[in-house]
């Protein structure tokens, strides 16, 4: 530790929220990731969220070119990246302007004063310099000539161009923050050594600037305190930090290995789902096949082809892409093949808010197809459990021979958190309905008596040649049938098949209270915010508020109604206009539900939730 001798005077905190902001080129994502990784290895619980502009290279210094990375670390359970910021590191005026509203009054802002030039102030639409005009009087502002000090630190290292020197100033900021929160720079130095292998002068430069920032903070009297955040109590085991999209990709890798099938992904680039493609394409060594297709439709239809030929087939997309895939999902449902569709939800409708989060594709997932075409719909709720639900989506599709839509969202897909690593050996078995050889009296639409899953005869198997297609099928042979009674029978059996999935999924649970005055209901990526709001209230003495978070949307868990009926009031909280609420009303039409909705492309804030829940139990 760089400042061990100061530890005795350190102020002990449970949790802290830090936001690093700057220009797109300032390296804020890297700075934030280094701080969160270091903290996780120290033993803190963490949650992070990046916030970067939709523009790839927005003009320097502009308000819409600000890139940010927020880290929430704690010695207690951390379930969200946090709402209000304890420490803001602003590398330029635009970053300060766009993020100041999030900083708690009285808390600290570190700025690079070198970036507060007339030109940059104009670009950020500041009429006067906020460092001089008194507008920051409610905050503790730490002014540092970061660019100058970085240059000074590097003046003796040869072979560095001007651009490289300026680019390392983010490490100066990181060094300061490491000192403030009593963190060792070792992990980051090891990272430099790996990342810049073969460029010793770059390793030296980054290490030097990082340490210079750390020593500078130590000697600077402007920084009031050193804070101490002890390791959190977490289940013992081996951990790593994962992003939701990576965890999703890995869940499918695990499912492919467990099921003994090869994984096929057909996909088309779309934000924010593309990272799943980027991750899976790296793993050809596991036999993963990926096709970057010509469009969203080819993404899913190639996956349907792969499923027909016996692969564990997957397609990944976001909102508008799901709309384009609708007809093909109907085909997969009709021919009863296994197929997982991952929809990383973003703000809609139309192109909407591609880099922002929302939960507004729920009804599209449920009903966005022609005819009566039910599919299984499940939702992950945290960056880490994207792994479990991806695995579960694969298991359900293979065991029930029907498409599964897995919903995640931009918030959990891009967010990261500690994941207690699951070995494939600990994961549940995955069965399938493949028929290995010709059988007497076999029919393509023979079904499993319990699950109603049809059997899976794969090209290359002699004697099982058969045809499937989008026309209505005869209930047994799968041949085309226009018989009226058969159509009704088949429509009903396809619905019943989905309903029976209830017998194979876990029952719905509640947290904090299983009966009482108010049940908070959520689904998908809002788990972190809802859970921490109800937890805070519980700690404040509101023992009459329970919390039910749904991961299984279609079908709902069997005991859903009885869980809901244990409470006097129910509030369904969603980042949309009330879609899950509609689903519940459709199932239980006499239930009295109230709603709490937010449609701003942003997650719920802790205080708005607590206020709402308090009001409801008044």
């Amino acid at each position: 530790m760089a400042n061990t001798e100061l530890n005795d005077q350190a102020e002990v905190l449970e949790a802290v929220v830090i936001r690093f902001v700057g220009d797109s080129g300032d390296g804020m994502q890297l700075t934030g990731t280094q701080f969160s990784d270091t903290s996780a290895m120290f033993g803190n619980d963490i949650a992070t969220f990046p916030n970067y502009p939709a523009e790839i290279r927005a003009p320097q210094g502009s308000l819409y070119g600000v890139s940010g990375f927020q880290v929430h670390i704690g010695s207690v359970e951390i379930s969200t990246p946090g709402d209000e910021v304890d420490l803001l590191v602003a590398m330029n005026p635009a970053g300060l302007k766009t993020n100041l509203h999030a900083v708690k009054p009285g808390h600290t802002i570190i700025v690079d004063t070198d970036a507060f030039t007339k030109k940059n102030l104009e670009k950020a639409h500041y009429e006067s310099n906020p460092l001089e005009d008194g507008s920051l009087a409610n905050f503790r502002v730490v002014e540092v000539e970061m660019t100058t000090l970085t240059r000074e630190a590097l003046k003796d290292i040869e072979g560095l161009d001007n651009k490289t020197i300026t680019r390392t100033k983010n490490m100066f900021a990181l060094g300061m923050v490491y000192w403030m929160y009593d963190r060792s720079p070792e992990h980051t130095i090891a990272f430099f050594e790996k990342k810049f292998k073969g460029a010793p002068h770059i390793i030296e430069a980054n290490t030097k600037v990082l340490n210079t920032g750390l020593y500078f903070a130590e000697t600077l009297e402007l920084i009031p305190n050193v804070y101490k955040i002890s390791p959190a109590k977490m289940a013992p085991g081996k951990y790593r930090i994962v992003m939701g999209n990576t965890a999703t990709a890995w869940g499918f890798l695990a499912a492919a290995e467990k099921s003994g099938l090869e994984l096929f992904l057909g996909s088309y680039p779309i934000t924010p789902a593309s990272d799943i493609l980027h991750e899976l394409v790296k793993h050809k060594h596991f036999g993963v096949k990926t096709l970057q297709a010509e469009d969203e439709i080819a993404g899913i239809t190639s996956a349907i082809g792969a499923a027909f030929a016996g692969d564990l087939a997957l397609t990944t997309t976001s909102g508008p892409g799901l709309a384009l895939k609708g007809e093909a999902i109907g085909l997969a449902m009709m021919i009863e093949l296994p197929l997982v569709i991952v929809n990383v939800q973003r703000g809609g409708p139309s192109t909407g808010l591609p880099t922002k989060t929302e939960q507004s594709d729920l009804l599209q997932a449920m009903y966005g197809r022609n005819g009566e075409s039910p599919v299984i719909v499940i939702a992950a709720s945290t960056p880490a459990n994207c792994f479990n639900y991806a695995y579960q989506a694969a298991k359900l599709t293979l065991e029930h021979m029907t498409p599964v839509i897995l919903l995640t969202d931009g918030y959990i897909a891009n967010g990261s958190a500690p994941w207690k690593i699951r070995s494939v050996d600990e994961m549940p078995e995955i069965k399938n309905h493949i028929i290995k050889s010709a059988q007497e009296n076999w029919h393509p639409y023979d079904r499993d008596a319990d699950s109603l899953a049809r059997n899976w005869a794969i090209p290359g198997t002699a004697g099982l040649e058969h045809r499937v297609g989008g026309l209505e099928k005869d209930r047994i042979s799968g041949n085309v049938s226009y018989v009226p009674e058969n159509h009704e029978y088949m429509t009903k059996i396809r619905a019943e098949k989905i309903k029976r999935v209830q017998n194979y999924i876990p029952e719905q649970t509640t947290e904090f209270a299983s009966s009482g005055d108010l049940l908070v209901v959520g689904w998908g990526g809002t788990y972190g915010s809802l859970h921490s709001a109800v937890k805070h209230l519980n700690e404040e003495g509101y023992k009459n508020i329970g919390y039910a978070h749904f991961h299984y949307i279609n079908p709902l868990p069997k005991n859903t109604e009885s869980v809901l009926r244990q409470f006097k009031k129910i509030v369904v909280c969603e980042l949309n206009g009330g879609q899950f609420s509609k689903v519940l009303k459709m199932n239980f039409d006499d239930l009295d539900l109230s709603q709490f909705n937010k449609i701003q492309g942003l997650p719920f804030g802790n205080s708005e939730l607590m206020e709402k829940f308090k009001q409801l139990v008044k």
Binding site: M234, R240, I241, H285, G305, L464, E465, R467
Partner: protein
């Protein structure tokens, strides 16, 4: 692969138990039977044959073949077939499509499957009309053609499938009349043997909505005078008395008569289907008189599936991770006690 192919199938082995429901007199019957006769000659195992179709009259085809098959959704068969082939490279995968299915709603998949050159065979039933929806003009209908949706005449200029295909880098393109089963059967066999995406355009007469669309070229009485059936390495000669031929004059193809103006058979242009340069192939595709049938282009190139398999084997050979646990427990992990 097992060698059950040696048991010598007959066309009957490929007939399904489904009643064929095309209109009487439709060329689709000819195509179906030609395919059933071609398959036993290909040396493929029945269990490995997959037909994928889109939507339209032609796309009912898989139901009539006793192989694996999928009657899918409109225009998407090339993408589905791509998935099938990538999932299992041992399969013989066929796409059955029509001019509406492949040139209109499925145009994007059509050009991209050709660009990639995955080892599939595509049979395009071109009847220059929408049949199943009862008679609207299609992307290959002629300007001025009167149809249900163009009562005063079609105002949309047509695609020539071969021109579009070669423009999209098709390595194998053949065209054949719908009433010449013998040649058609042979072309299907050649299409299967060709490694890469093989496109066969069948000039298919629709007796109900566009009867006689090709009669001026394909009618038995005029066929030999109006068509040149090209074969690689042979001079492009046609005519009932085999006295007409093609010569290249400047940048144009010209019809000449052997024995006139001192022209002998040796002067006739010899067909080179293997020429990578598509210029002459495009000229043959566009030629109106005589209409060119046969294998116009057959250029060997590495296939997409080969490239994918090679890359996967290369990555596997230098793999650090063999099981997912190796990946999950690699890199920056940490222990919580």
């Amino acid at each position: 692969m097992e060698t059950t192919a040696e048991k010598k199938y007959t066309y009957k082995d490929f007939e399904s138990n489904q009643e064929v429901r095309w209109c009487p007199g439709c060329d689709d019957y000819v195509i179906l039977r030609s395919m059933q006769k071609a398959l036993p000659e290909m040396g493929v195992d029945k269990k490995d044959v997959v037909f994928i179709s889109g939507i339209g009259c032609s796309s009912r085809f898989p139901y009539y073949m006793d192989t694996y098959g999928m009657h899918s959704i409109h225009g998407r068969a090339p993408a589905i077939a791509t998935g099938v082939k990538l999932a299992n490279n041992d399969l013989s995968v066929w796409v059955i499509t029509g001019d509406g299915d492949s040139m209109a709603i499925g145009g994007n998949h059509f050009i991209h499957v050709l660009r990639r050159n995955i080892d599939l065979n595509i049979i395009l039933f071109n009847n220059e009309i929408y049949g199943l929806t009862k008679g609207q003009f299609s992307p290959t209908s002629l300007v001025g053609q009167k149809t249900k949706s163009s009562p005063f005449g079609n105002t949309q200029p047509p695609f020539l499938p071969g021109e579009l295909a070669i423009g999209a880098q098709a390595r194998f393109f053949a065209r054949i009349g719908g009433n010449t089963p013998k040649e058609m059967t042979q072309i299907f066999i050649d299409a299967e043997k060709f490694k890469g995406t093989s496109l066969v355009e069948v000039l298919q007469n629709c007796p109900i909505f566009n009867d006689g669309a090709y009669a001026e070229f394909t009618d038995k009485l005029v066929r030999e005078d109006k068509q040149v059936y090209v074969e690689h390495g042979k001079p492009m000669i046609f005519g009932k008395s085999r006295d007409k031929g093609l010569m290249l004059k400047g940048l144009k193809l010209e019809v000449v008569t052997i024995g006139e103006n001192g022209i002998s058979e040796a002067d006739i242009l010899v067909h080179d289907a293997n020429d990578a340069d598509p210029t002459l192939h495009q000229m043959l595709v566009r030629l109106k008189y005589p209409l060119v049938t046969g294998i116009i282009r057959s250029v060997h190139d590495k296939t997409f599936d080969e490239r994918e398999i090679e890359m996967m084997n290369k990555v596997k050979a230098s793999a650090v991770f063999h099981k997912t646990d190796d990946l999950f427990f690699s890199g920056d992990t940490y222990e919580v006690h």
